[in-house]
Symmetry: C2
Subunit: 206 residues, 2 copies
DNA sequence: GTCTATATTTGGATAGAC
DNA sequence: GTCTATCCAAATATAGAC
């Protein structure tokens, strides 16, 4: 499953990501994880201490990078001569798209993230809001710059709708199926372009 | 937890809905469910045969009613002299809103539904597409009537975005919190109104 | 750091009395 | 239909050798 040059720790993280995506946090057992990672059962507790800590590490690994990319893209979009709403939306959406494509387990991670939303677990929520919240606030500020007359509450609702639509579509929850003649890349790229247009119109409306 | 005039079967369904929402299908044990329902552990297997069957019944109970309400509202919206896109959107969104408010466990069910999306379980997907698919197709046809020049693929993507936004917001996944001075009803009612405006603008854009 | 072996808990399901 | 008691499989976690 994983190349042998990855460390035990990394192999566990990769296998956990895949299996948590498929079966959920409670549904994927450490036995399945260690078997898929080709490591001993006891290795999880040695490296991570507990299953809960393993779950957090699965998030940290990807979210750190996702947030760096989003903030860099945001900075880039705002540095243009005439910043466009669509580019700020792209800065929010495209890094998620790339994550779902670039890495071996990126696609799995999008599903893990969606499961985290569903968990409503206070510990996870706090963890996500600590890591995710300030990024969302920066984007909210940027969007507010384009929509100076919009009610704050309405803006936050709209960003919430966009997050829901993004998660739902990137995690393949809906009935949209890739047709066999288009590649995975162009399928998702098209989805992102559709979402940016849809969301830009939704944001701009009075 | 539940009034004594409910049958054993109904008490199990209600408790299962709540606990599946909180802990997931794998995370909620039949022991937790039967304890919360104040019935004996053996009652689940007697009435439902297995945990998997219990899960399906939790869906069937709510989805049947949700679909009836959506289709009735759709028919109503299309029967108007000058049907409006917003009313068709409302026919899709408001029954979900009402479900999340009307019943004791309706809100829990929205979270269960979101978990079902995340499961990606083939059995559940088939069950949902059998029960959900034809309703989505009827709505797609109705929307296409308002947007005659829109590409079919683009329309389906947009409906997928709306579904994601609806599920995400009705299941309280995002950071939007109800402020203490507004009631639960008006909080959600406002969310639905926001979503309808947002989605209508997104659907109409070229 | 990694393994085997095992302690301990918890899960789904069922048998059989009432 | 409902209960008690129990079987059996699977889970997390740990102890201790290497």
């Amino acid at each position: 499953m994983n190349a042998p040059h990855f460390s035990t720790k990394e192999r566990i993280l990769g296998a956990a990501e895949t299996l948590f995506a498929q079966h959920g946090f409670a549904g994927a057992s450490l036995r399945q994880v260690t078997a898929a990672a080709n490591v001993n059962l006891a290795a999880v507790n040695y490296h991570f201490g507990s299953k809960d800590n393993l779950i957090e590490e699965v998030f940290r690994r990807r979210l750190d990078e996702l947030n760096v990319r989003r903030l860099a893209a945001l900075k880039n979009a705002l540095a243009a001569d005439e910043p466009k709403l669509e580019d700020v939306l792209g800065a929010f959406i495209r890094p998620a798209l790339e994550l779902s494509l670039d890495h071996e387990g990126g696609h799995a991670f999008m599903r893990v993230l969606a499961r985290a939303f569903a968990e409503h677990d206070e510990r996870l929520r706090k963890f996500l809001s600590d890591n995710y919240g300030h990024v969302l606030r920066e984007f909210a500020t940027a969007f507010a710059g384009f929509l100076p007359h919009m009610d704050k509450e309405e803006l936050y609702w709209r960003l919430d709708f966009i997050t829901g639509a993004l998660t739902h579509s990137m995690a393949d929850f809906g009935p949209m199926r890739r047709r066999s003649q288009v590649s995975e890349e162009s399928h998702r790229e098209r989805a992102a372009a559709h979402l940016i247009r849809f969301a830009a119109a939704g944001l701009r409306t009075a």
